[in-house]
């Protein structure tokens, strides 16, 4: 590429999907009128005390295990101080030198190359509120105050934006599969800060800048590209990189300086005296480990190598944990993997999209799905009739067999009946018959269509084809 190497590290904040906040009973639900999801504790009233939500620790440990981290058996919380109106206590309760999780990694593939990204640490902390700037005043909304977060800090292992993008995708999948975070980017559930520096091969790392406010994967990738190029221009122009904190403006497509090194922060960290240290037993950690689901990368590997599916199918099936689970359970109920995959990628995806439903809202049980595929493989209904049955299953909670029976959808495989219909169609379409006999072999499909229409779709298409060919010999 050029003489420079780019070194990138990430700090990702993920909101945990707990019902209540980290230190009080308030809901974590997104939205709500200003300051309606608050209580004395999360709005920092004088005299309040935090009560640590155990679920937050559990979720962080779960994320740590899924990201191959070691779990710190002794961990504690610290106060990180700064003055800003969105922080009602003037300190954020976070973790400083004893985080819950340490030394993990995520394996990714970027530009066709496998790469391992190290995870330095994961810790728990609380979210801050939000400032709402009006024409002549600024208001503060504390609804997000105390929503639990984990901060995932990576090693400076990234070399380019493609790796950043692939990592964020992989991380998102893992957090979704472990059900630790809902990862809703539009609600700010996953946010990312990027540290970036450049240096010439063989020389020490350059001065790094920190970019904040990256609320989408594409923004993170674009900011990395922009900043790497900017630093190259500065260094090639004989300038120096200053250790700034930058804010990415996604619309304008550039970084602007938020804070320069001169006012670098002093956070006066000290151990939170109101929360007892967290001492995690081996048994506790193992109990959480047992709840970990099979992660998406492992599932794709299994789908391709064990089930023989194309990678394309494996990718699509693992986009959602629910769909992937649905697929596995349908296969477990006896269906052919490729047949299940085809129906999921085809009819089920189409029906969900038409109805604007999330994958979790599939109104079909895996057992019923397997039963339907069984009817097809046994020739009771045709593949295309199967599509119609699925559509009905989206509306009615009936078994596929019942639907087929009640609506007389079973395929006609009675040779006598089909022969009769074929003879009738041949008699009624002398022109097409003549074309076929004159050498237009494809004309037979028109005749097959006529028979299918006459049988209202129930005739076994393979038998129709075979009988027509016989009769027209």
């Amino acid at each position: 590429m050029d003489e420079f190497k780019t070194v990138i590290g990430l700090e990702v904040h993920a909101e945990l999907d707990t019902k209540s906040k980290i230190y009080c009973g308030c809901t974590t639900e997104f939205g709500g009128d200003e300051n309606t999801h608050v209580c004395p504790v999360c709005s920092g009233m004088p005299g309040v005390l935090p009560m640590l939500n155990r679920k937050v620790v559990e979720y962080c440990v779960k994320a740590g295990l899924a990201l191959n981290c070691a779990i710190n058996p002794y961990s504690r919380q610290d106060r990180k101080h700064y003055f800003y109106p969105d922080l009602p206590k003037a300190f954020q309760t976070s973790q400083f030198d004893q985080p819950l999780c340490l030394n993990g990694y995520v394996d990714i593939v970027a530009g066709g190359q496998p790469k391992r990204i190290g995870i330095t640490r994961i810790h728990i902390e609380e979210d801050a509120g939000k400032l709402i700037h009006g024409a002549d005043q600024t208001r503060v909304d504390y609804n997000r105050c105390g929503v639990p977060l984990i901060e995932i800090v990576t090693e400076p292992d990234f070399e380019n934006s493609a790796q950043v993008h692939a990592f964020l995708e992989a991380l998102r999948e893992i957090l979704l599969y472990t059900e630790v975070s809902n990862c809703k980017m539009e609600e700010g559930s996953l946010r990312c800060d990027v540290n970036l520096s450049i240096h010439r091969e063989g020389e020490p790392f350059g001065t790094r800048t920190e970019m904040k406010n990256l609320n989408s994967f594409s923004a993170a990738a674009a900011a990395v590209e922009y900043e790497a190029q900017r630093q190259r221009r500065v260094v090639l122009g004989g300038g120096k990189i200053s250790q700034d904190t930058l804010r990415w403006d996604d619309e304008a497509g550039y970084n602007y300086v938020m804070r320069s090194k001169e006012d670098a922060d002093e956070y006066f960290y000290f151990p939170e005296p109101d929360i007892m240290p967290m001492v995690l037993s081996e048994g506790y950690i193992e109990r959480i480990r047992k709840t970990l689901p099979e992660l998406p990368a492992k599932r794709r590997e299994r789908y391709v190598q064990v089930m023989g599916l194309p990678m394309y199918d494996a990718q699509l099936l693992t986009v959602s944990k629910f769909i992937s689970d649905f697929f596995d359970r349908t296969v477990a109920a006896g269906a052919q993997p490729k047949a299940v995959s085809n129906f999921i990628m085809g009819d089920i995806t189409r029906l969900l999209n038409e109805r604007g439903l999330a994958p979790e809202k599939v109104p079909i049980q895996p057992d019923a799905m397997a039963e339907l595929l069984d009817l097809i493989s046994k020739g009771v209904i045709s593949n295309s009739m199967g599509s119609k049955v699925i559509e009905i299953m989206f509306e009615e909670t009936k078994s596929p067999a019942d639907i087929v029976r009640e609506r007389g959808m079973a395929q006609v495989s009675d040779a006598g009946a089909i022969r009769g219909m074929c003879e009738q169609v041949i008699a009624e379409n002398p022109k097409i018959v003549a074309d076929y006999k004159g050498g237009k072999v494809k004309a037979i499909t028109a005749l097959v269509g006529q028979v299918m229409k006459m049988s209202r779709g129930k005739a076994n298409p393979a038998m129709v084809n075979q009988l027509l060919e016989e009769l027209l010999k």
């Binding site: 004395p40 920092g44 009233m45 005299g47 309040v48 003055f83 003037a90 000290f270 109101d274």
Partner: protein
């Protein structure tokens, strides 16, 4: 006329348990007791109260109504009491004696306030103190200094000066204070009443405006040991809103009062009786030892060699925590906000420099300094190491003794304004009380006579973790011996 005045005096001077008996007999009503207290508060010149509860008589009437229906809640139902003004009371302003919170009305009540209210107590009002509980004289108040009822030209002690003065002047049957480095025990000693600082975690801190989170503890100020036990029974115990509150089962503290001093092993740490302790104070404490020995206690001299580290460790830890806890007063959400400002940074800066008094600012600066990245290890970390050593000292002596006996304050109440010029001299006066907070132990100050100027002297009992009962046992025995 004279007779009715003295009858009122006599009624006001009752202990809470005696007042409780009168209520139970029906010879007096809660409304009568409450009105009596309100009249006395209005007439008092000692500035013990910051705010009087406008609903006090209403609460008293409700208590009387309960009693009429035979639904009295227990020994404290209908007893008028008051709370230090750093204990949050929903709907009643809670100022911490600071300009910063001069108009602040909390949206919720502290657990202790709720528990006393559930026990049927009548809240008379909120008591004066050193601003944010920082001080040992109750002179650092936005609302003016508290005067000692025994000599109005002298300090009442602090920081719970209002709480101690109110009990000493019979303006309330008991009060609650908070004790971070002696703030319940020292003013109790200086005003001649009883004050207990229970084990860290024995009483919920929820709703008590934090000064130093790892040291703060609520404590009762009462006229005798029996009242102390009664109040403790009502407020101690696990609180789901305070993660540091202890789950250990609660004894009935009244039981401890009957045990007497026979066989009690009492240690007098020599470090607490040496230099800096006034002769009269030392003699008064020795008198207490003699009284208990006469009842069969075993009294010996012992040693807590790390005592000398306690004062510095205390000021480093408490200032660090205070600086963190007081960050929230920024003019954004509640409390004082400066009038004119150009931007956010200026608003916060001016609000804090105008809203806090000098002593509070001094502690915030001290805390900021010790928590700074370059100094953290030298100060905060070392203070925590000293803390461990001090705890070890106590653990060792409590293998041999049930309770330790020391002075509460090295001297009796000094004149108002006398030590303004030298804050360090005032800090040094906390030498007998801070170790107990640093180690998280329970301690109690017992009135033990007066000096040649008629000023009260306090003796301090210190017990091992959760040893409140043994403190009460020793205090009750000493009271009995004193009367005999």
């Amino acid at each position: 006329m004279n007779q009715s005045i003295s009858a009122a005096e006599e009624l006001a001077a009752l202990t809470a348990h005696d007042a409780s008996c009168r209520l139970a007999e029906g010879t007096v009503s809660s409304v009568q007791l409450t009105q009596l207290m309100l009249d006395r508060i209005a007439a008092s010149q000692n500035n013990a109260f910051i705010t009087v509860n406008p609903k006090a008589l209403e609460e008293a009437a409700a208590a009387d109504a309960r009693r009429q229906k035979g639904e009295a809640r227990g020994p404290l139902d209908g007893i008028p009491m008051a709370l230090k003004d750093n204990i949050s009371t929903q709907g009643l302003r809670t100022t911490c004696a600071s300009r910063m919170l001069a108009e602040f009305v909390p949206p919720y009540s502290a657990t202790v306030a709720r528990r006393l209210s559930e026990a049927g107590c009548v809240l008379l009002g909120k008591l004066n103190m050193d601003e944010f509980a920082m001080g040992s004289t109750s002179e650092n108040s936005y609302f003016g200094p508290v005067r000692n009822p025994r000599d109005p030209q002298r300090i009442a002690g602090g920081s719970s000066g209002g709480s101690a003065a109110a009990v000493a002047e019979n303006l309330a049957y008991f009060t609650l204070g908070s004790d971070t480095g002696g703030s319940v025990r020292q003013p109790a000693a200086m005003c001649g009443v009883m004050g207990m600082k229970p084990t860290y975690g024995r009483i919920s801190r929820y709703g008590v405006v934090a000064f130093a989170s790892s040291l703060d503890q609520i404590g009762p100020i009462t006229k005798d040991a029996q009242d102390c036990a009664l109040v403790l029974n009502a407020i101690a115990g696990k609180d789901p809103y305070d993660g540091s509150s202890l789950m250990n089962p609660l004894p009935d503290y009244l039981d401890a009062l009957k045990d007497g001093a026979a066989g009690l092993r009492i240690g007098i740490p020599k470090e607490y009786m040496g230099e800096g302790i006034s002769e009269e104070v030392r003699m008064a404490v020795e008198r207490v030892a003699g009284l208990l020995e006469a009842q069969g206690a075993i009294v010996e001299t012992c040693s807590l060699p790390r005592t000398e580290y306690a004062l510095s460790a205390y000021y480093v830890i408490s200032s660090a925590e205070a600086c963190s806890n007081l960050g929230r007063y920024d003019g954004v959400k509640y409390g004082y906000r400066t009038q004119a400002y150009a931007n956010l940074a200026e608003m916060i800066e001016k609000t804090r420099s105008e809203g806090f008094g000098d002593e509070v600012k001094r502690r915030i600066l001290l805390g900021t300094y010790t928590l700074s990245a370059g100094y953290f290890d030298a100060y905060y970390k070392r203070a925590q190491q000293a803390r461990t050593l001090i705890m070890e000292d106590f653990r060792k002596v409590f293998r041999q003794y049930d309770v330790l006996l020391t002075p509460t304050s090295p001297v009796t109440a000094w004149a108002l304004g006398q030590k303004h010029a030298n804050p360090l001299e005032i800090y040094a006066m906390d030498v007998c009380t801070v170790s107990v907070n640093v180690a998280g132990l329970p301690a109690l100050s017992l009135p033990c006579g007066t000096d040649s100027q008629g000023l009260p002297i306090g003796a301090q009992f210190i017990a091992n973790t959760l040893g409140e009962a043994v403190l009460l046992r020793a205090a009750a025995a000493a009271e009995k011996g004193g009367k005999a």
